[in-house]
């Protein structure tokens, strides 16, 4: 049986204490399999971003554990967590967050170079990654020379460059128009179909329909999980 690439067990996150205590996440169990796209939905404050931050080694859980590519994040040092972010998981943000002073290829190769890879080799992988998101030929463009959709494609390419196989996307279409958003979701879907795994946080039920499973969060708890029955899912499945 295939092992999950990302696994969360009885994950909990509490902010504050006493009367100020807020349970951002409570006993969340979730496995993300290779090739799987999971959409995480819920209202504001339901815990979506907290879940994503812990999956991406950006935040530490109060209880439970996160296992990425077979490695338990709980026992890791800060440097090891940084390494996980470089080699295992990639982030895609609503505002693209490309570094404006680097070209598209340089933005993508940055995590590889930070991991010690030879710049020339990193560049090759970056070019390949750009090809995979249909951005071949735009390696030397700077972010401000790209449209919003193109920037997000570069961000997805960066998130999955080299050995990275888990993409964590936080409202990746939040700053895009409908048509561009759809193209980004298609890209995400196709990258997952090619073997990557992705956790997609979204408000839009329509966009969640591209996922294999939809996890509904409410007040930090998993309210329900919808399995994919047909492609794409209908909004009825997740409403």
């Amino acid at each position: 049986m295939t092992e999950p690439i990302l696994s969360m067990r009885r994950l909990g996150k509490t902010h504050g204490s006493g009367a100020q205590r807020v349970d951002a996440l409570v006993n969340v169990d979730l496995d993300l399999m290779p090739g799987e796209l999971i959409a995480v939905t819920g209202r504001s404050g339901s815990g979506k971003t907290t879940l994503l931050n812990m999956a991406g080694a950006l935040d530490e859980p109060t209880t439970g554990e996160v296992i990425v590519a077979g490695e338990n994040l709980a026992a890791m040092s800060k440097n090891d967590l940084a390494r996980i972010r470089r080699v295992a998981v990639g982030y895609v943000f609503q505002q693209f967050n490309l570094l404006p002073s680097l070209t598209a290829a340089e933005n993508i190769s940055l995590p590889l170079e930070l991991d010690g890879m030879n710049p020339a080799e990193a560049r090759k992988l970056a070019e390949k990654s750009l090809e995979e998101v249909d951005m071949a030929g735009m390696e030397d463009r700077y972010p401000d020379q790209l449209s919003g959709g193109e920037q997000q494609r570069v961000a997805i390419a960066r998130g999955l460059v080299g050995p990275r196989s888990v993409l964590l996307a936080d409202e990746p279409t939040g700053a895009l128009d409908e048509a561009t958003s759809e193209s980004i979701l298609k890209l995400l879907r196709s990258r997952c179909d090619a073997g990557a795994a992705a956790l997609l946080v979204t408000h839009e039920p329509a966009y969640a329909a591209w996922a294999d499973r939809v996890v509904r969060l409410r007040d930090g708890r998993v309210e329900g999980i919808s399995e994919r029955t047909k492609s794409p899912l209908t909004t009825a499945d997740i409403s």
């Binding site: 971003t49 931050n53 991406g56 080694a57 950006l58 935040d59 800060k78 440097n79 967590l81 940084a82 390494r83 972010r85 470089r86 080699v87 990639g90 982030y91 943000f93 609503q94 505002q95 967050n97 490309l98 570094l99 404006p100 002073s101 680097l102 340089e106 940055l110 995590p111 170079e113 930070l114 991991d115 710049p119 700077y142 401000d144 020379q145 919003g148 960066r158 998130g159 936080d170 700053a175």
Partner: protein, 902 residues
């Protein structure tokens, strides 16, 4: 107008919303303004107003006669004529003299003989404590003198140099504007009987007060010269003068003052004079007459009267430093840096507020409105900062009054500054802030609304005009400096200021294209370094401003290092710097009024040994020989190179006989060996091939770099065996004390008051220490500027760093990034400051049209010495240290996702 009002409203609210940044900038403006106010206060407190100066000189009187009378008495003629001219005036006699009152320890004091109850004397002295002396034998002294002589009210005091005997201190008095002065106030009229000898009495003054006092005093002065003075002329010693001196008969200032002996000498001179070409016997005799009358050391003069009036003094104005100029200059120097930092802060702030600016545009704001928002915020901050600065400065003046008063030697009342004093710093602050925000305001206004709404700053392509304009500005500045250097105009100083500003500004402008250029070449450097280079190239408004700000600071140490090295090199013409642990005793001033010191005696050596008990002393003989070395002193006109080359330096200190004790104390084996071998030694010089000529005969000599005191101490040593070659030379002893340390201040003071001819080397810092201190001070100031610039731009950088962390960099990447960024900016600033500083020093030096020549060489006054061995490490190490200190002092980035745009 309503649109602009709305824009200012947004500006005001923005300033309130970004409270931390606003407070930071307000303080940044306030501190230099406060500094300016304090400087104005100190300058104002250090200088007197015309009214205060008049009070210190006239008391409450309208006019003052200083009377020069051989008897020390005021002529009744003056009183009588004054009373006749203006019956209503009052006349008060005053005697005051600043003299040495302590012999063992040098104490000087102003001795006053005045009646403090007389209205005319009000304001000369203020009553501080105890009683005013009313009887002979009583005295009041100033608190400073009381402390110096360790005496209190009620105690008794005796002044060593004054024949007053023991006096009872009944009270304390002080000069109102010089509360650190040493004063002695005797009871009215007590001075004359105490002194006894009328010739020793201080010159009397007459204070004239009352209606018409000044006019009456002026009339009396006219009458004095037309008829009064001759009433008191002395009888001539010889009348009429012999025919040879008849031409002197017409001038009372010569004829009345000559003694019989003078006349005999002058007649001899007139008969035997041998006038050279262009000279006459009369001229020779006339010169000799003045030498006899005024060069004898005894005072000889005709009775005279000197009038000063209060109105004259008040019309002279203040000659001391102008507080307004001082405060403005002090504030302006610091505000140049403030303008850079404020500019960077506004540039960063504008980027952060792009969406807000976009929203303004979307709602109809024009470019003008956007500019008004940014400039309005600057104005608000400038106004609040300047106001706060004035308050802070005034508060410092009030709170620091106890510290400042002794420092400026007077009582400070109120805040100590006037409205005009603070106006300069306030205006400079407003101008600096407005200039600083103009570029960010223009940049913000040019961002297309759609781009601004997306929060994106369009990439700025390097402005093509920046390079030619920068070079042009620097060239025009250089031209202005060059013109000013050959100009004799009163505006030369202004030209230098404008020119130097142009050069510095022009070069600072080049930092932007340099940063852009380097960024383009960064493809092959490691990731973090590449990010730094690209960030600096992309955000040039921020980084170029930082580079310019640092460059301006670095100019100071670069110029100072070169100037220091140049001065040291030029001074080598006079030999190596004097050692600070050598003291030379070459004479005493016992009973010497004019002329040179007496030769030293054993008791002089003992007196010095008492002051310097740790000193190793040697007494050696000096032969009064005419010694010449290669060059001469200083020639100030160009074209004199030939005369310098042909001239020689006369060592007026003769030659020292190199006894065994002397060579031992000098402590150099080479000197000892050379002297033993019978060679003449030249001290304090090396590798100059110094030629030595004694009494016109050239002798072979060997140089040794043994530093010696340059005054009093001969620098030529001859072996004892050579003394016989100069049988006619007069010999006098000199004592050399050597210590293991520098002289203390107390020892300096005691040497100064010991009535001895003593010379010693000053405890100056060596070259390495000077450079290290300069480097340290520079590091400190650059760090402050770097910290400020980094603080204001960190928000902008942090957003990108969070992204880098999110994609896998550890949080420490922020420290590496900022460390590299500040180090790189300092390096670029250094790369600009180094040639610029050298160039400016070179330009200013090139105008020097003199040649510095000493006994050991000749140096062109326009030559500069560049201390490369110090400059290069300084240029390389400073950026590394700045970068490293930034790296260890900033925090790592938090491991959280980048902020969402709001």
């Amino acid at each position: 107008m309503s649109g602009r009002k709305a824009a200012y409203k947004v500006a005001r609210k923005n300033a309130i919303r970004n409270r931390k940044r606003t407070i930071f900038l307000v303080l940044l403006v306030a501190v230099p303004v406060a500094l300016g106010v304090v400087v104005a206060g100190i300058v104002r407190a250090s200088s007197l107003t015309p009214e205060e100066r008049a009070q210190a000189n006239f008391g409450n009187a309208d006019a003052k006669f200083s009377v020069f009378s051989p008897t020390g008495e005021v002529y009744d003629w003056i009183r009588d004529t004054l009373t006749e001219t203006a019956p209503g005036v009052t006349i008060t006699e005053l005697r005051q003299s600043f003299i040495r009152v302590g012999e063992t320890v040098a104490i000087y004091a102003q001795v006053w003989d005045l009646d403090m109850s007389d209205p005319a004397t009000q304001g000369f002295l203020v009553h501080v404590d105890g009683e005013i002396p009313a009887a002979p034998g009583e005295v009041a002294i100033s608190p400073t003198l009381a402390e110096e002589m360790d005496v209190e009210v009620g105690g008794s005091v005796e002044f060593e140099t004054l024949p007053f005997g023991e006096l009872t201190v009944v009270g304390l008095v002080s000069q109102p504007f010089f509360n650190q002065s040493s004063d002695i106030l005797l009871s009215p009229g007590a001075l004359k009987p105490l002194v006894g000898d009328p010739e020793l009495l201080p010159e009397p003054s007459l204070l004239v007060s009352g209606p018409g006092a000044e006019e009456a005093a002026m009339q009396v002065t006219d009458l004095w010269y037309s008829e009064g003075q001759q009433l008191f002329w002395p009888k001539p010693a010889v009348d009429p003068l012999p025919p040879e001196l008849s031409f002197l008969q017409e001038d009372p200032n010569t004829f009345l003052l000559l003694t019989e002996s003078d006349v005999d000498q002058l007649v001899d001179l007139a008969r035997n004079a041998d006038p050279g070409p262009g000279q006459t016997v009369e001229q020779i005799v006339y010169d000799a007459t003045f030498q006899l009358i005024y060069g004898s050391g005894e005072f000889r003069g005709l009775p005279d009267l000197y009038l000063e009036t209060r109105t004259q003094w008040l019309s002279q104005g203040v000659f001391e430093e102008n507080p307004v100029v001082a405060s403005t200059a002090a504030a302006a120097i610091v505000l140049v840096e403030v303008a850079f930092i404020t500019g960077a802060a506004f540039a960063a702030g504008t980027r952060r507020r792009l969406r807000e600016i976009g929203l303004m545009g979307a709602n109809g704001a024009s470019e003008k409105h956007v500019r008004a928002t940014v400039v309005g915020e600057g104005l608000t901050i400038g106004a609040v900062g300047a106001g706060l600065g004035v308050v802070l400065g005034a508060a410092v003046m009030v709170l620091a009054r106890p510290i400042l008063q002794p420092f400026v030697s007077r009582v400070i009342t109120g805040v100590g500054v006037t409205l005009t004093d603070v106006l300069g710093p306030v205006l400079v602050a407003m101008v600096a802030v407005v200039l600083a925000v103009l570029i960010p305001a223009r940049t913000a206004s040019k961002v297309p609304t759609t781009t601004a709404l997306q929060g994106r700053m369009p990439a700025l392509s390097p402005k093509k005009w920046v390079i030619p304009v920068g070079i042009g500005l620097a060239a025009v500045g250089g031209l202005l400096i060059s013109v000013s250097l050959v100009s004799t105009s009163n505006y030369a100083g202004l030209l230098v200021g404008v020119g130097a500003t142009g050069v510095v500004g022009g070069v600072a402008m080049l930092s932007s294209p340099i940063l852009a250029g380097v960024a383009k070449l960064s493809d092959r450097v490691p990731a973090t370094s590449r990010l730094v280079l690209r960030d600096s190239g992309r955000n040039r408004t921020r980084s170029a401003v930082a580079v310019a700000a640092i460059m301006v600071i670095l100019l100071a140490p670069v110029a100072a290092m070169v100037t220091s090295a140049t001065t040291a090199e030029k001074n080598l013409a006079f030999g190596l710097p004097a050692p600070s642990d050598h003291v030379v005793l070459s004479g005493n001033y016992e009973n010497v009024t004019f002329g040179g010191a007496n030769p030293i005696t054993e008791s002089d050596v003992a007196a010095l040994a008492a002051i310097l008990p740790e000193g190793d002393v040697v007494v050696f003989d000096v032969l009064d020989l005419f010694v010449m070395t290669d060059a001469i002193l200083e020639v100030r006109e160009s074209g004199d190179e030939n005369s310098v080359a042909n001239a020689q330096f006369t060592d007026v200190y003769g030659v020292a006989v190199a006894s065994t004790d002397l060579t031992r104390v000098l402590g150099d084996d080479g000197v000892t060996t050379a002297v033993d071998a019978g060679d003449i030694v030249v001290l304090g010089v090396e590798e100059q091939k110094t030629r030595v000529e004694i009494n016109g005969v050239e002798y072979p000599a060997r140089e040794y770099p043994v530093p010696v005191v340059q005054w009093g101490m001969p620098r030529i040593l001859i072996p004892e065996a050579m003394v016989a070659q100069f049988p006619d030379a007069e010999t006098k002893p000199i004592a050399l004390f050597t210590l293991e340390r520098d002289l203390t201040d107390d020892e300096w003071n005691r040497l100064g008051s010991a009535n001895l001819e003593v010379n010693a080397g000053y405890g100056t810092l060596d070259e390495a220490t000077i450079y290290l201190l300069m480097g340290g001070a520079t590091l400190l100031v650059v760090l402050i500027v770097v910290a400020l610039v980094t603080a204001v731009s960190a928000a902008e950088v942090d957003q990108e760093i969070r992204t880098i962390v999110a994609i896998g960099a550890p949080g420490s990447v922020r420290r590496r990034f900022l460390g590299l960024l500040t180090g790189y900016q300092t390096l670029v600033a250094m790369a600009l400051a180094l040639p610029l500083g050298l160039g400016l020093v070179w330009v200013f030096s090139s105008a020097a049209d003199y040649i510095q020549a000493g006994p050991f060489g000749v140096v062109d006054g326009s030559a500069i010495t560049i201390p490369w061995l110090w400059l290069i490490p300084f240029a390389v190490v400073l950026p590394v240290i700045i970068g490293f200190l930034t790296l260890i002092s900033v925090r790592s980035a938090p491991v959280t996702p980048p902020r969402r745009a709001t």
